[in-house]
């Protein structure tokens, strides 16, 4: 069915206000958009790794979820969701549950790329009918902007600070979506917020309604950690895709498909310039950082295009 933007927005919210995420938080946008992709007649259980979203959306006694929700710890969201789905199968078999349920797990990049990586890999390998959504804000934001394996090279983080000898993170960002694809799961995709959210919506819908384990990686800017004015978020996500830094693609049954190709590839420094975490890259003598960042984007983009052809 074609995407009907207005109709989608008329659905009752399954993720509501009153949560304690910071003003302008990208994660909040991701949560709403993914939950909107559920068919209103379907029930869902949300699993959540410890992180910004957890402490903000279920701060006792206030839950921002209209669906059932479970958080247990930081590194085990995928395993916890595995237990919920397994129980669903068992209770269905016994005739104790008859409704149709969908299972969605949300984790930040810390809980997904790093500490939750093992349990995520296990859950994907076992093949539970679930979708794991990473709201990727490229650092441990809940504890105060420490570097994760998702933090891009050169970004300033509190455990990869800018100093006299070293300036920001030294390593490139881990390519988690590709690693998830390598698990042989039926659907993996990455996306972010763009225009009328068609890309995110369609991918979330596919991830939720494709049988088996699916993975969705959503770049979710953090104004605190990335150091930009909150109102700029739509510009940041637009630049993330137009610079080809965060390509929008999906992999269905091993087939790579680009879902957005910029008309004109924008230089990476335009994306970096808007964010305080890259400020030092624009200082005199650090021109090589911008060049290295551009080279990295170009190489990754070309490699991706080759996979998508």
């Amino acid at each position: 069915m074609a995407y009907n933007f207005k109709k989608e927005l008329e659905k009752p919210e399954r993720f509501v206000g009153g949560h304690r995420l910071c003003a302008g938080c990208g994660a909040g946008i991701t949560l709403r958009a993914v939950m909107r992709a559920l068919e209103p007649g379907d029930k869902a259980v949300v699993t959540n790794a410890t992180g910004c979203v957890e402490v903000s959306t279920f701060m006792y006694p206030y839950t921002s979820w209209t669906d059932s929700y479970i958080h247990t710890a930081f590194e085990n969201a995928a395993a916890t969701c595995s237990g919920v789905t397994a129980c669903y199968e068992a209770l269905k078999r016994r005739g104790k549950v008859t409704d149709n349920y969908k299972f969605i797990t949300f984790g930040g990049d810390g809980g997904t790329y790093d500490i939750g990586f093992q349990s995520l890999s296990g859950a994907m390998e076992r093949g539970h009918d679930m979708v794991y959504v990473c709201y990727d804000n490229e650092a441990y934001m809940n504890t105060g902007i420490q570097r994760s394996s998702s933090t891009p090279r050169f970004a300033n983080a509190t455990t990869a600070p800018v100093g006299r000898e070293k300036q920001g993170k030294q390593q490139d960002k881990k390519d988690l979506t590709a690693i998830m694809v390598a698990h042989g799961i039926p659907y993996a995709a990455q996306t972010t917020f763009l225009g009328n959210f068609r890309d995110l919506h369609e991918k979330a819908k596919k991830a939720i309604y494709t049988e088996g384990p699916c993975f969705l990686n959503v770049l979710s800017p953090c104004p605190r950690g990335w150091q930009y004015d909150t109102a700029l978020l739509p510009k940041i996500t637009q630049l993330a895709v137009d610079t080809c830094l965060w390509p929008m693609y999906e992999v269905e049954d091993g087939v790579w498909h680009l879902t957005y190709e910029p008309k004109k590839k924008v230089p990476i420094e335009e994306y970096m310039r808007l964010q305080g975490r890259f400020k030092h890259c624009f200082q005199k003598g650090n021109e090589w950082m911008l060049e290295a960042a551009q080279q990295y984007v170009d190489e990754k983009w070309e490699a991706l295009l080759a996979k998508c052809r």
Binding site: G17, A23, I29, Y62, T63, S64
Partner: protein, 99 residues
């Protein structure tokens, strides 16, 4: 059943839910995050073309939609991030001038 609205900072342990469970949906709607705002967005209905592009960008679900049209901001939950102002192609949302 113990309801979220009846649980507060002076509730004795016998009047709280076991294990911190909550058995109702969307209880955070009770909580006012509107007082976090340092700036307030104003919706200019006359300029609005009802494209709704502002709606999905709101992290606080503070732009209600009914019958294909957006309504006034839910100022109890809007935190004043201004993302909607950037998202609007028609300048139909502006910051409120300081009173």
């Amino acid at each position: 059943m113990i309801h979220a609205k009846d649980i507060h900072e002076n509730s004795p342990w016998t009047k709280m839910t076991q294990g911190g469970e909550i058995y109702e949906p969307a209880t955070s709607l009770l909580f006012n995050t509107g007082d976090w705002r340092t700036q307030t967005p104003v919706f200019l209905e006359k300029k609005c073309k009802q494209c709704l592009l502002c709606v999905p960008y709101c992290p606080d679900s503070a732009i209600p939609v009914k019958d294909g049209k957006r309504g006034e901001f839910d100022l109890m939950h809007c935190k004043g991030c201004g993302i909607c102002i950037t998202a609007c192609p028609f300048d139909a949302i502006v910051w409120k001038e300081d009173a």
